[in-house]
């Protein structure tokens, strides 16, 4: 994926996680995956359509998700609490929404669909010419993963080469 598309997601994750957890975070591993996505714990998926299409998955181990949700909620939440899953969805919504806002102001037009929990072990197959970019953010509560698989939509395919995420 081109850096112009990646950077807003990194910046948004940095801003949202740092503010929400009230501590700085670091970007850990950055890898490309051609295989279908495999869920790591509590995962939320947001789909995008428009000039850029695809999906972004926000994922954290159950223990990490519970710690993050507890921090955001201002009270201790057990891993089993449904609010933990809700918190991951909302975090995904905020990170992706902020990134999309930046991209929109750069001229890309999107529709962001509401986040939903990704409960199956594997994600949808990635198309042959698309890879997923997996970013790992090291937070004070543990590792948070963002898996991005996006392509230019049909409206801009003519003017830009296919973008692999």
């Amino acid at each position: 994926m081109k850096m112009e598309l990646i950077q807003p997601f990194i910046n948004a994750a940095d801003a949202v996680l740092s503010q929400g957890l009230n501590s700085p975070m670091e970007i850990g591993n950055l890898t490309m995956e051609k295989e279908a996505y495999r869920r790591k714990g509590v995962a939320a998926m947001v789909e995008l359509s428009g000039d850029i299409e695809g999906r972004v998955i926000f994922d954290a181990a159950p223990q990490t998700a519970a710690k993050i949700a507890s921090q955001l909620a201002g009270m201790e939440l057990p891993e089993s609490d449904s609010l933990v899953r809700e918190a991951v969805c909302e975090l995904a919504n905020q990170v992706i929404g902020n990134a999309v806002a930046t991209l929109n102001d750069q001229g890309f037009h999107f529709r962001v669909h509401p986040p939903h929990l990704h409960t199956s072990e594997h994600g949808p197959k990635i198309t042959p010419n698309t890879e997923a970019l997996v970013l790992c953010f090291e937070t004070s509560s543990g590792s948070v993963f963002m898996n991005i698989a996006l392509n230019y939509g049909s409206s801009v395919k003519g003017s830009a080469s296919s973008v692999s995420a």
Partner: protein, 146 residues
């Protein structure tokens, strides 16, 4: 959470009543916590635009906090419908999708303000005061923040 000097209704000194609209239960709880730190009262909640319209008519809040990206009916359309029925409705859009087009569309359709998620309580507090205008008054309390 930081406590703010309570914002009251100037007409009767009562707590400002809020309708919170967001498809995320977590976001609604978080907003409710912030509102309570302003001395506000939660008059109702809704998880989508359709329910928001019904809930607005039921509870007639002083302010509605409205998310944009929601299932069934999105927040901007719901805001427009509420304002059509209630021209004095004070609707503040609260969304992570804060790009120019969305903000302009929301304001054109009757929203009074826009707050970007993640919500900073001190920002929302100032927006609430601004949107209430003369209909709101900040009650002085000893040791209160902001």
């Amino acid at each position: 959470m930081e406590q703010f000097s309570p914002i009251k209704r100037s007409k009767d000194g009562q707590a400002v009543r809020y309708l919170i609209v967001d498809d995320s239960v977590f976001a609604r709880k978080n907003l409710a916590r912030i509102i309570e730190s302003f001395g506000g009262e939660i008059a109702g909640e809704a998880g989508d635009g359709m329910t928001a319209i019904t809930e607005y008519e039921r509870c007639k809040p002083d302010i509605a906090l409205m998310d944009i990206t929601m299932p069934q009916m999105e927040g901007i359309e719901a805001a427009e419908k509420i304002v059509q029925q209630n021209p004095d409705a004070r609707i503040v859009m609260v969304s992570s999708v804060g790009y120019q087009e969305n903000i302009v569309a929301a304001l054109q359709r009757g929203a009074r303000h826009f707050v970007q998620k993640p919500v900073k309580p001190e920002v929302l507090y100032e927006v609430i005061k601004y949107v209430l205008g003369e209909d709101g008054v900040v009650a002085a309390t000893a040791g209160a923040g902001a």
